[in-house]
Symmetry: C2
Subunit: 249 residues, 2 copies
DNA sequence: CGTCTTTTTGACCATTTTCAATCAGTGTGG
DNA sequence: CCACACTGATTGAAAATGGTCAAAAAGACG
């Protein structure tokens, strides 16, 4: 729960996400509502825990900057990453709907998150049906992504899963402005990738090295360079993503 | 897409689900809205395909009676079951939100589904914010279930996954009135269980037999008898479910 | 009954895990 | 600036969980 309120909160009117292509623009009344709804900004360091499994939170957040993971930790110490959270993604909705988080949210990079009072969520549905609709859209898209991950774990080989993960991360990072080209910062360890795809870190490394030998990618330190996206896509298989401009709060 | 309109559609006012414990009751205006929103009823046979992956559907459905599976079929013929759909569950929302289904929905038993026009969904958000909220609730719960499955596939052994699945099915079937006691009809083949938990049918069978030898359950034909729920729970591990009374449309 | 699907079992195989060690990169304090 | 510590990456060898193949048994259905 490390973090502090920021000195100069971003104004919704000049929200950097709204300028990005692929993000649905707001109407004036929506903008006014969200500006009012937003109660603050949370800034956390890399590695910080934003939300804790099993706990309640009075807030919902929208990622403004940075990457996070949503993950589940088991008693035996193993962990399963459920998905990443990128800018524009909502985190903590579970807490508002079910009174308690069912997973933990951890920052992979320094992050800034818009803070909303859970209590105000109801007003959103009442006053801004379009934003209510958007919230459902975001929740359903999240389900879609998790289901796609499930398909990988259930039916595909380690090689396919790894290729899928690379393409998935690239696609999402690109869409959220965190990757400008085929070479980009990836604040994800090989262990993280292993924990996402249900593999051991050792085997993940072996497969990655093999893909590297085949000239598909190059991963050094926290930088990845995708040298053959089409090749990776072929291995990865189907990668559905909603076409429409995505909403966000 | 087999199915036909039913002779005598169920009236929302006398919806059997509303009488079930654990289902959130409607207010009068909500009831009136949904009665109007409901445009028909779809009755299908066991094995019928309700919604097809990759296709668009002008409808959203609420399961009124019966079980379905939501699944993804791969090019190589393998399939991954994403989740079951029980009475009260919404299916086809993806089609309304993303213009196309990202999975197939198949009936496991004869089913009846309430039909809603996708075009009317927007009115629901506008006129009945509470129901809009409920729709988000349902979508988020679905994500929660899929994430729980993901954790099983990623981190747990075959034995644990099978025990988890049995308990999960029991819990959901009980809550939706499809299981009255520890012994109930289970219209799920061992292959289905395998396809849900990312295992082979052969290994699934071996594990099930082992659990049977240990006196935890008995599964003959399409009937399952849970003889030691606590034992299964111990193996299954954490089984989160939202406590609050669930909404439905 | 005869056919089809599903379940069951045994034998063998292999993808992936676990274990063990080394190496590389990064950060810290003296 | 260097020794030390720590985390993450890399590699090889051994072990194992779970998969594939094959075939028979048991239901289900017309």
């Amino acid at each position: 729960m490390a973090g502090r309120t920021r000195r100069s909160p971003t104004l919704c009117g000049s929200c950097p996400l709204r300028k990005m292509p692929g993000y649905r623009p707001f109407s004036d009344t929506e903008l006014a509502f969200v500006s009012e709804f937003k109660s603050g900004e949370l800034e956390v360091q890399a590695g910080a825990t934003v939300l804790v499994d099993g706990h309640d939170s009075p807030h919902v957040f929208t990622v403004l900057e940075g990457w996070a993971v949503r993950l589940k930790e088991l008693e035996d110490g193993s962990r399963q990453i459920i998905n990443f959270a990128f800018p524009g993604d909502l985190v903590g909705l579970q807490s508002s709907l079910f009174d308690q988080m069912q997973h933990t949210v951890e920052a992979l990079t320094p992050m800034r998150l818009c803070v909303f009072e859970r209590a105000g969520l109801w007003n959103l549905y009442r006053d801004q049906p379009g934003l209510g609709f958007d919230t459902t859209w975001l929740a359903a898209r999240e389900e879609l992504f998790v289901a796609q991950h499930l398909v990988q774990l259930g039916q595909r080989t380690a090689r396919e899963r790894i290729a899928y993960t690379i393409v998935y991360i690239f696609m999402r990072a690109k869409a959220s402005g965190l990757a400008k080209s085929f070479e980009f910062d990836i604040p994800v360890t090989q262990k993280d990738m292993a924990d996402l795809m249900g593999l051991s870190a050792v085997h993940t490394n072996k497969v990655l090295k093999q893909l590297e030998r085949e000239g598909l990618l190059k991963w050094s330190r926290s930088m990845i360079n995708i040298t053959d996206l089409e090749g990776l896509r072929d291995i990865a298989g189907e990668m559905a993503e909603p076409a429409a401009a995505r909403p966000f709060l």
